[in-house]
Amino acid sequence: MDIIKGVPLTSYILLCSILFAIGALGVLYRRNALVIFMCIELMLNAVNLLMVAFSRYFNDSNAQVFVFFIMAVAAAEVSVGLAILMMVYRNTKTTDIDALSKLKY
């Protein structure tokens, strides 16, 4: 615990922001739907890490409870997402999101 507190909060904020940015850029640049799902998970986990860091810093357990909610919701969300991806895969035989461009003008 002392080691965790030894790291200044700024470093955590910086690390989480970088992780979040990597996740966000991944969502924007990758074309494979599965990789995009992983990038979204990365964004959510960056938030989790930030919450826990703040929670430790404030000595307040509220944020840790929030982290549990985020983890539970993320699991539900990804399971729905994978089901949607399966449905798409059955119709298109690919996980490349560029295959889905029927709705463009």
């Binding site: 979040f20 969502v27 739907a33 930030l50 929030f66 949607i84 449905m87 889905l100 029927k102």
Partner: protein
């Protein structure tokens, strides 16, 4: 609070119906349950029912007057939606699942209008969104529906990530998840707007704008609205949009005493962007569903204007009226659109509406009233909704914003009339449409509501009390 319990219980009951075979009675049971919810919501709003649970639930949800009124509005929308789209469920093998998804997303909507803690805001948004991702793809064989579902899912979870990062940063700068604590902090004398607070608030604002499809964050909306089955689209553009904007309003009027300079500019960009992008791109659409999607983006511009001026005492009331008017109008428009779609092999381009008045005058009449109301022609409800909000902006000294909004609405009149002219001036190519008795009653009821709400505010606003 009671509404959440009733609707959640109803959702579970609907799921059980899949196991025990009483599928036939599902729709009547759900309609009866929603009617009960509506009655409970109305009684609670009037203060006739009051239990200790009602006031606040562990400080996480607060069913104050604001929440109660929006719960009543949301229940009304859902009830009308289920009655109108009765046949969305009857021709499906897994209708129980779809109906229960609708009911569960209602629970999310109720949480979103009554939260006092960011945990409940987050959970509400997710409970509302996750069923909608599934419903958008409920037409499993259609590639368009698949695309809409995947796009909605990816964009929605991306926005959730941004929302959560914003919440984390706000927590970092204030040390609390309670929205009211935020207000205590921001009104305190020693409050300095740190970069962390500003970035957190901006991220929260962007995520909410994303969910309510305001202009720079609107790209998912037209695709998702076009691809989803028409019934689901009408739920999305009424129920989901109302919940998202009500949550948006609640966030600002609980958390901040006034709109700080930094957010003022962001708001103006959102408002003007929504008004102009929505209206101008809609002019070039040939698909009626896509046109309505863009028009709904332009309506968000007006609603955001009410949120921008939340410090005015009448802003909540005018936002409520705008949403009620918009929701009823959209339900009517989508009901007609769905009937036309069913009678033209799924074609919803504007040419599918050619000569609708000769195919069925009632359909054409209802759609005309709905579109005129959306365009803001007096004495329909859409006009008074717009008028109230512009009046607030004018009181606030934003004369130029009112001019901009009126110019944008003038563009809107053009494309709404494109459909009206197609209905009245063109010759029909398809056979006449016959309606069932229930559909006729519903169409008349919706028309009456659109006209009645307008006349109601006309009569009550002009007679000085």
């Amino acid at each position: 609070m009671n509404e959440i319990l009733i609707v959640a219980g109803l959702g579970v009951l609907t799921l059980l119906a899949e196991i025990f075979s009483f599928k036939k009675f599902i729709a009547p049971i759900v309609i009866a349950g929603l009617l009960a919810t509506w009655v409970v919501a109305a009684l609670e709003l009037n203060g006739n029912i009051y239990s200790s649970l009602n006031a606040s639930v562990l400080n996480m949800l607060d069913f104050d007057r604001y929440a109660q009124s929006f719960v009543l509005l949301l229940t009304t929308i859902a009830l009308l939606w289920v009655i109108i789209n009765y046949n969305f469920f009857s021709d499906e093998s897994n209708k129980a699942d779809h109906l229960s998804l609708i009911l569960f997303s209602m629970v999310g909507g109720f949480c979103m209008v009554s939260y006092t803690n960011f945990v409940m805001l987050f959970l509400g948004i997710e409970i509302l969104s996750i069923p909608m991702y599934v419903l958008a793809g409920s037409n499993k064989r259609s590639l368009r529906s698949n695309e809409a579902s995947l796009k909605y899912f990816l964009m929605g979870s991306f926005a959730t990530g941004i929302l959560l990062f914003g919440i984390a940063l706000l927590y970092g700068s204030t040390g609390s998840f309670y929205v009211y604590d935020l207000r205590v902090k921001t009104t305190g004398a020693d409050f300095v707007m740190t970069p962390m607070f500003t970035i957190g608030m901006v991220m929260l604002l962007s995520a909410m704008a994303f969910k309510s499809s305001a202009a720079p964050f609107h790209f998912w909306a037209p695709d998702v609205y076009t691809g989803s089955p028409s019934s689901v689209t009408s739920f999305m553009s009424t129920f989901v949009k109302t919940s998202a904007l009500a949550a948006f309003m609640r966030l600002f009027y609980t958390a901040l005493p006034y709109v700080p300079e930094t957010f003022d500019r962001i708001f103006l960009i959102l408002i003007i962007g929504s008004l102009f992008l929505g209206n101008i791109i809609a002019v070039f659409q040939t698909n009626a569903k896509r046109l309505l999607a863009y028009s709904s983006i332009s309506h968000v511009g007006f609603m955001l204007m009410a949120i921008r001026f939340f410090s005015e005492p009448t802003s909540v009331a005018s936002l409520f009226f705008y949403m009620a008017a918009y929701a009823i109008t959209t339900l009517a428009a989508f009901m007609v659109l769905k009937i036309v779609e069913e009678n033209s092999d799924g074609d919803v381009s504007i040419s599918a509406f050619n000569g609708l008045v000769k195919r069925n005058p009632l359909l054409a009449g209802t759609l005309t009233i709905a579109l005129l109301s959306m365009a803001g022609i007096p004495p329909l409800s859409g006009f008074f909704a717009k008028f109230n909000i512009l009046y607030i902006a004018l009181n606030h000294g934003y004369f130029w914003l009112v001019i901009v909004a009126i110019l944008a609405s003038l563009v809107g009149v053009y494309y709404y009339f494109k459909i009206v002219i197609a209905m009245f001036a063109s010759e029909p190519v398809l056979t006449p449409i016959t309606l069932t008795g229930k559909q006729k009653i519903l169409l008349l009821l919706l028309t009456l509501l659109i006209v009645g709400m307008g006349l109601n505010s006309f009569v009550f606003d002009l007679i000085p009390s």
